[in-house]
Amino acid sequence: MSEPHVESTEWEDESVRHRVDEPIATGPLLEAPVHTPDPGSLLEVDNVTLRFGGVVALDQVQFSLRQGEIFGLIGPNGAGKTTCFNAMTGVYRPTSGEIRFKGRVVSGLKKHEITRMGIARTFQNIRLFPEMTALENVMVGADAHHRTSVVGALVRGPRHRREEQQGRDFSRELLDFVGIGQRAGEVSRNLSYGEQRRLEIARALATRPTLLCLDEPAAGFTPAEKESLLALIRTIRDNGVTVLLIEHDMRLVMGVTDRMVVLEFGKKIAEGTPAEVRDDPKVIAAYLGVPADAA
């Protein structure tokens, strides 16, 4: 970004527009923001701002996801995509604004409560439990809905046995589903990079999410691996899970998403179908950089 000046005026215009919208959008009687009258919206990111000291990581970001779509969250490095994920999954709490999932405010809930509500995620830098086997990793996710108490586990009660069996079967199914079933007994640190990425998806799916957030799941993949991952993502969606996909590789995300939001420097600069976003001059500018006189 050699000449940020022109672009920054554009963002200010955008944020002003949001501020004007604000009283309508967050009126006490209106649960859904005005700009998304869609009753099928699953997740609403409503005017979310997140500051770290003086740094504004997210600046009045606003978008919403519909049930059953694959939604892309894209932008150059450092645009705030992962920060947005972290706000959704309870790692950070928004400075202002709200994130609503199935109509309930998520901000301020504990991380495990958010998971139980149905949001699951993977991590950009893989965060498996490295010394546990692939199967055990997935079973941790499956435990999210289990109710065996410590005493129940101590005496190996009937619920413990039932849930243990169910969790094990379900986890094996998921490992097969993501294509690493034959590696179930391997300690996860010994899995290849691609297998670890797939294991993270299986572990997230084990929490039985309604919304699966994938944080750059194809990073470091070969084109062939990317292709098979996209097929997997589509299958996940076809099984009824809404998918939110972070990616900075535009080409990858164009092929799979139904709609997308583009972030740059913490602000939303575009929203729409891949075709709409692709032709948006602001998006082109953000990705390619535009000389001041051309903008």
């Binding site: 790692v91 941790v140 586990a153 101590l154 413990h160």
Partner: protein, 378 residues
């Protein structure tokens, strides 16, 4: 797909791959053989007081300076403490330097409820005081854990260290807890021999050892069940990546608290046994070194696995006791005087030769290998 094929398909991915070594070979044995080995070990353990009668090896094993049965009893409560601390440190990864605090809570509860010196004057029987002591130890674990488990690593270690010191100083300065004067006349466990004499007397320590061994076996079964359940998985997940665990739905605070509470329970149980055996206890029993010693045992044996904790706990008690009554050739003093030197050198040697502990847990061994790579020059 035929039933047989289905069966094969289900069994195809091996759940755990036992590696080489003793543990791997044991894991691959058919279950009757494994059961037989375990039963054999248990029988041998109960027979330990008679090991001195075994020709050749026996006399080398038994302690010289103190009664072998008493030494065995002290091994049994150190093993028990190591098992409890292993849940906190080995499984959940919470560094607890004040474990003696829970041991003290268990022992003091028994003393207060049973001893004639107690202000309560309840004069309970030992057995009646046991459940109360366990519950109070558990509550003290929750009480300490609730505010402190938000801390991690070094900070938690310092707070737990403080906890143990608070308990000790409280016991020293509070008149009702009698400080150095301590409590006498704490009753022994109940039971009679065939001839009408008390089973748990002053002369013979063997029944205490057998009681301790039985408690140890029960604790092992309990801990093993927990380890192989969602509880054990949650502990491991917390140890490996607490935030990722929380995001995968693990209730981290709850399970850390449970680890603390279970550790406290077992520690309290150790105190209960100690009080019932000694019949007397005072505040000087609960020194800081005690916590450090048990922790050294857990780490030395191999933190995060049950056989390691047992071995480590046994060694920290056995090595010093074995040194008693042997005179060294140089100064002609009792080798027991040199126990800290010898003990320290032993620990250093083990840490150099086998940093993952004598019986390493599969996971811990790999963690250490990994860290060695981080430290080594590229």
């Amino acid at each position: 797909m035929t039933a047989v094929e289905k069966e094969q398909a289900v069994q195809a991915p091996p759940e755990r791959r036992p590696g080489g070594g003793l543990r791997g070979r044991f894991g691959r044995l058919p279950w009757p053989a494994r059961t037989a080995i375990i039963v054999g070990c248990v029988v041998l353990a109960y027979g330990l007081p008679y090991v001195g009668y075994v020709p050749m090896i026996g006399p080398q094993i038994v302690t010289q300076g103190i009664d072998w049965s008493s030494a065995l009893f002290s091994i049994s409560y150190f093993v028990l403490l190591a098992l409890g601390l292993n849940v906190v440190v080995g499984y959940a990864g919470l560094l607890d330097l004040g474990y003696v605090g829970f041991f003290a809570v268990g022992a003091y509860t028994v003393a207060l409820l049973t001893s004639p010196d107690s202000v309560l004057k309840t004069h309970w029987a030992w057995l009646a005081a046991v459940p109360v002591a366990i519950v109070i130890a558990l509550l003290s674990g929750l009480l300490l854990g609730w505010p402190t488990l938000r801390l991690r690593g070094d900070y938690l270690a310092i707070v737990t260290l403080g906890f143990a010191e608070i308990i000790r100083i409280f016991a020293e300065s509070k008149p009702e807890l009698r400080g150095d004067r301590g409590f006498g006349g704490i009753p022994h466990p109940p039971g009679k021999n065939g001839d009408g004499t008390a089973l748990f007397g002053v002369r013979d320590a063997r029944p205490y050892f057998w009681l301790g061994l039985t408690i140890i076996i029960l604790v092992i079964l309990a801990v093993r069940n927990l380890d192989r359940s969602r509880v054990g998985r949650s502990w491991l997940a917390i140890r490996e990546d607490e935030e990722a665990a929380a995001i995968m739905g693990v209730r981290t605070v709850k399970f850390k608290l449970w680890a603390f509470a279970i550790g406290a329970c077992v520690g309290g149980l150790g105190g209960v046994m100690f009080a019932g055996y000694q019949g007397f206890m005072n505040s000087s029993t609960f020194q800081l070194q005690f916590s450090i010693l048990v922790l050294a045992g857990v780490v030395m044996g191999g933190s995060g696995n049950i056989p390691g904790a047992i071995l480590g706990g046994a060694l920290i008690s056995y090595i010093p006791d074995r040194l008693r009554g042997i005179s060294d050739p140089l100064l002609n003093t009792d080798l027991f005087q040199w126990r800290f030197l010898i003990f320290g050198v032993t620990i250093i040697l083990i840490m150099i030769l086998r940093p993952q502990g004598i019986v390493p847990s599969r996971r811990r061994a790999m963690e250490l290998k990994d860290r060695a790579g981080e430290v080594a020059p590229q």
